[in-house]
Structures are given as structure tokens and as C-alpha cells.
Subunit: 251 residues, 2 copies
Amino acid sequence: MGERTPNGVVPEVPLDRTSPVPLYFQVATRLQQLIEDGGVPVGSRLENEVELAERLGVSRPTMRRAIQYLVERGMLVRKRGVGTQVVHPKVRRPVELSSLYDDLAKTGREPRTEIRLLDVRPAPDHVAEALGIAVGSDITWFERLRFASGEPLAIMHNAVPTDVLAIERADLERRGLYELLRAAGRVPRMANQVVGARTATSAEARLLDESRGAPLLTMTRTAWDESGRAVEYGSHLYRASRYSFELTLTI
Amino acid sequence: MGERTPNGVVPEVPLDRTSPVPLYFQVATRLQQLIEDGGVPVGSRLENEVELAERLGVSRPTMRRAIQYLVERGMLVRKRGVGTQVVHPKVRRPVELSSLYDDLAKTGREPRTEIRLLDVRPAPDHVAEALGIAVGSDITWFERLRFASGEPLAIMHNAVPTDVLAIERADLERRGLYELLRAAGRVPRMANQVVGARTATSAEARLLDESRGAPLLTMTRTAWDESGRAVEYGSHLYRASRYSFELTLTI
DNA sequence: CAGGACGGTTTGTCCTGACAAAGTATTGAC
DNA sequence: GTCAATACTTTGTCAGGACAAACCGTCCTG
């Protein structure tokens, strides 16, 4: 009898079938908690999905969907004929499409923004191309200086098509661009970024409180909303001494 | 009667039920082709999934799975009560976990590698921590200089645990690290990267054919295989004048 | 004419059932 | 003892059906 007993046993889970939260999600969330809290040790094998579904009182497709969800997050690995294993709970979310403002606010680093320029102008060639709009279409163009905890961190140039969102100077000072876009229902869903480096000109150095020739991280980005419409083009400069990009990749 | 006729009509698809390729994947691939070739215009709405399933001769779950696959790739967007829309076919794959060597080879830029150092040593603190192994465990440590089309491009320091893979100098000269890992069955599936910038020291500048103080892109990365085992730690330096990172993000 | 109620459309969730394919372990033959 | 055939376990794929929830447009009422 080839019984391969699993070593990661999932206790019963209280499910709420009246809740608007889908069943598969309730199961997935509970499982994720168990893994993160160490209730199901890393490297252990889960029970097979048929048993699991039966014991938790859900159908196999629902159980599969919950497991699949965690597989996509990189918490579980499945092999046909073998089983489902818990792997490396540290690395989780694929990549976050977040804004600098959000990142700073989340880590309590008091973001502040100084708007150095804001006007409506026809889109120049490279901006129009990046946004996929006609050259000369109206865009709001602005330059911001971003501070964190009182220190300058980045110079940001951005373009937003005027028919996507009318940008007010006052709003932009208090809230991040992405927050404004989200509030207007223009939620960025996809972005293409190019990250590079160069040295600071004297003008840039002065603004960023660095010396001429200091290393800067450059990032240019185009973001689209869920309907595929380009909502933002950005060309940013970060002080390399204070900022770096962190990202998690999965195949 | 509120009939909302779709404007993106999917023609019948020849499906091969004897093929080992899953049905849902055949459907998805065909659909993807149609979108990329412009057969189904961007912005158009697809027929509803029930009809589509019926016409293609598959069940609704299968049809849903095919559509879901393309939604995850960012080619389609669905809204309950509305339908499925084609969006922006340009931006596709989430992120690729590829190696510099592969990238260069693919674009025909003749990668060449010079191994400047290779030995087995106990893992120092920061490497052990990044790899999640005990301090002092044996690793293969090596420094490589990577050329593209005859010009120096990057200085790469890497560590690979000896029990993951025994690295031979000769192999490394002809093939990329990731190719070696894959060949040994240690396929990298997940990676954590931090990208920053700094200026070159004179030693680094000499190697890279730059001048002292030239901007460099820095990248440190830890990669894991599918079982969650750390297979590689890398600390790389790229000439910012010749290299930048490009990535696509989705929520 | 404005605004809410209503109905139709479309995707989302969930279930049961069945067979296929890939690994793993056991068994049996040589 | 070694190796190949076999049985078993586990995940992968697929079908068909049912109801719920969100969205859109229309109609009716005030």
C-alpha cells in the first residue's frame, strides 16, 4: 500500500457561506494565514486536494481554485502524481504597481511635494509616442520635486492627457498622482518601465541637494488603465544615494 | 430588447481533441493570434462566453479558462454584466526572469564572458543571509566580466551553493549561469531584485572602459527554484551608458 | 422631464461527475 | 540483486448544470 502521508495537516476551517466573499477566497486566505504563521511548515506536503476538499466541505473545483490562487502567489508548488508543497513564504506578491508617494506614506516617511511647473501644452513627439496619442494633443505637463522626511528625493516630470484627467495644482500638492488617477476612476493597471542611471547636471544636483556628477536613477514609465488607455507618462530622476527599486519576479 | 451586438467576432477554430495540448490552451492561443493579427480589433467587445463556448464546441468552463488565461496576460478585460473587451495588445508578458546572457544572445549581440576569479569559499554574512543558508556553508564564488559585441558591459559577482551545482570554469565561459542552472534541473522560478545606481571606482572604470565617476547601474538578486531553494545570489554592475532595465508591471 | 423600478444580459461562483496523465512505490521476472 | 512491468496516488482536464451579482437600457411614475 503506497500511502504517502502528508506532514502538513490543514485543520478545519470555519466557512461562511452567506458572506459575499467567495468560498475559494475564504479557503485561500485561511490557508495563507496558516502558512505564514507556521501552522503548515515550509517544505511540508499538503493533503491531496480531494481529501482536503471533502474535509473542508467544499467541492474539488473550489478547493483547486483556492490552491491555484496560492500557487500563483508563489506560496505553493504542485506536481502531478506527487502533491502540493509549501515553499518559501517570504517572496510573495509578483510586482506592485505602486507610486512613490504611496510607498513613502506607507513606511511613514512623510512625503511632501513641491510643484515647480504645471501647464497644458501640446504633446511633444516622444511623449505622444509613449502615450500612443496624436502628436500635438493636449496634455497636462508638470514637474514636481518630491521630499521624504524633509529631504529631496526625486525630480519628476509627468504628462497626463487632458481628456483623461484635469489636474489641479492644489490636489497634486497634497496627494500623489496615482491617488488622483484612482479617485477619478482611471486606475492604472499596467505599466512599462525602463530603469537606467546617469550622473546629475549641476541644475539637477542643486535641486536634489547633491553635487554635480552624483549618480541618479532614471525611470521612464507609461501606464495604462484597464481599458488599455494610456493615462500617464513619467520621466523621473531619483537620488541613488537614497532610493532603489525592489522587485520580485516569477516565471 | 437590449441586444448589444459585439463587434469583435471570433471565427470558428479548428480544435484537435487528440492533441496532448489542452483544449483551453488551444482556444487561448488561437484567440491570442487573432488579437495580435488584428482579426479582433483593439477595443472591440467579444461575444459572450456562453455563445462563444457553444460555437467553438467546448464547455463553458473551458472557454472561461481560455479567456482567463488571456486576461492574466493583460490582453483582455472582463466586466460582469458588460462583456469581454480587447485591450492594448502591445504590453504582454508580466516580467521575464531572464539572464543578461540570454538577452544578448537573443538580440544578436555576441555575448562573451571573461572569468576573472572562481573559487569555493565559505559564504560571508550578507551572501548567506540573501541565500537563506548557514553562514560559512560552501559556495562557489566567481567574478565575471561580460562583453557585448566586443565592448565591456558588466562586472558580475555571483555565489552558487556548492550543493546546488558544481560550477566549472570552462562551462561558465561558454554558457550563461542561468543556462547552466537550467541544464542541471535547478530552474530559477522566482527572484528578488534590487536595482540602484552609484558611480564607478577607478578599478571598476578601468575594467568597464569608462572613466572614474561614471554612472553604473547596480543590481543584486537572489533567485529560487520551484522548490523554494535558493540557487543563486548575484551582485552586478552595469555601464549605465550601455544598459538599462525594462520591465512591464501589472496589478 | 427626471428619477427610480424593472427586466434582460453577461460574467462570477459553485457543484457533481468522469477520465487522462504523470509520478511513486511495489511486485515479479530474470 | 537488478531492472522492467504493474498498481496506485495525485493532479490535470473537461463536461454540464444551476444560481447569484453586476451592469445596462427601458419603461413607468411622479
